[in-house]
């Protein structure tokens, strides 16, 4: 029943070519398209088929996560951003011709170097023995989850020294990254909130802010009304402000 089990090399190659073509093809689509919404769409397809390649390489959990977090989360967010800024002028933006020429030259030579690197190491381009190549279905996700809690069961068979020495669990980054996400969430929320400038009083912090604004608007004098927000945080400028009861 398991399709992959028997004709692995054929199957692998067949799907590799399909997925790789889609990923690269739509990657080019992202690069060459002028329309930002289409770029986003191509990016979805490109990253989606990259997830397919992950599946193919045996990293099922990472593939699913790629689809879920990257494609389903990050890219939706990006598209959301596209829509918020989707005005006529910004949908289609041409790249300057000289940029194109420069980019082609630099990118092309970079690609050459990287491809040379990719096919450089002997170990990497040696194909597997076809009979050995298929690894039977293992529960990849369980060792993966255990590794995130700090226990590496996948290296049990190897020498125990290797288990202890740095090849071990990822408990610490797993915890730490959650704090990073918390900080980032706070930061993004802070950034996305609407701009405010406290009422210009003798308060030191407001003075600092006012000075900062003053420096920028030297030529066009600072319209205080535009920035000043009354004490309760209501703002005339700001129709989206949830505190605004009008």
């Amino acid at each position: 029943m398991d399709l992959i089990a028997v004709a692995w090399p054929y199957w692998h190659q067949f799907f590799f070519i399909i997925f790789a073509t889609i990923a690269i093809g739509f990657g080019f689509g992202v690069l060459l398209s002028k329309n930002v919404v289409r770029m986003a769409f191509y990016l979805v397809l490109s990253l989606g088929s990259t997830a397919g390649l992950f599946f193919l390489a045996g990293a099922e959990f990472v593939g699913a996560m790629q689809l879920m977090i990257y494609v389903g989360g990050t890219l939706v967010l990006l598209i959301f951003g596209v829509m918020l800024t989707a005005q006529k002028d910004f949908i289609n933006m041409d790249t300057h011709t000289q940029d194109w020429i420069l980019a082609t030259i630099v990118g092309g030579s970079l690609l050459m170097v990287l491809l040379f690197g990719a096919f450089g190491a002997e170990d990497w381009r040696t194909p597997q023995d076809i009979n050995d190549a298929h690894v039977s279905a293992t529960k990849e996700a369980t060792p993966l989850g255990l590794a995130l809690t700090g226990i590496r069961v996948d290296t049990l068979g190897e020498s125990t020294d290797a288990v202890a020495d740095g090849k071990s669990g990822y408990l610490m980054p797993f915890i730490i990254v959650s704090f990073h996400l918390l900080v980032v969430l706070i930061g993004a929320a802070y950034m996305a909130r609407t701009k405010k400038l406290s009422h210009a009083t003798d308060d030191k912090s407001s003075r600092a802010k006012l000075m900062l604004f003053k420096m920028e608007h030297e030529e066009e004098p600072l319209e205080e009304a535009k920035y000043v927000v009354t004490h309760k945080g209501k703002s005339a400028l700001n129709p989206l402000d949830p505190n605004d009861e009008d």
Partner: protein, 111 residues
């Protein structure tokens, strides 16, 4: 019926390299800053592809990174999501202040 030899790690690396370069060029040439952010995603994805390829026991049972590759890739996905969220918030802030998403217009700070 193999068309072109067995697929090896190098092939995956080649795909990763192409995605990386496409992303880098995208970052360099796009004028719409959301396009630039998309380039970042492609770059990170190209690197992630390498980790998966190196960690794949299917491609290279001996001497592969093993699970470490997948774990690093997982962390990279999470970090990329965080980075994208912040970059998007900053981009929207830029849009609010400048009324444009053209990176060429980000030219107040020069000299």
């Amino acid at each position: 019926m193999l068309l072109i030899g067995t697929v090896t790690v190098s092939w995956y690396l080649a795909v990763g390299a192409v995605l990386f370069v496409l992303g880098a060029v995208c970052m360099a040439t796009k004028r719409n800053l959301l396009g630039v952010l998309m380039g970042v995603e492609l770059v990170l994805n190209g690197a992630n592809m390498n980790f998966i390829a190196f960690g794949s026991k299917v491609l290279r049972p001996e001497g592969s990174l093993g699970l470490d590759g997948q774990l690093i890739a997982l962390f990279v996905i999470v970090l990329a999501a965080a980075e994208a969220a912040v970059a998007l918030a900053i981009a929207l802030n830029f849009y609010n202040n400048h009324n444009t998403v053209d990176v060429d217009r980000a030219n107040e700070l020069n000299g």
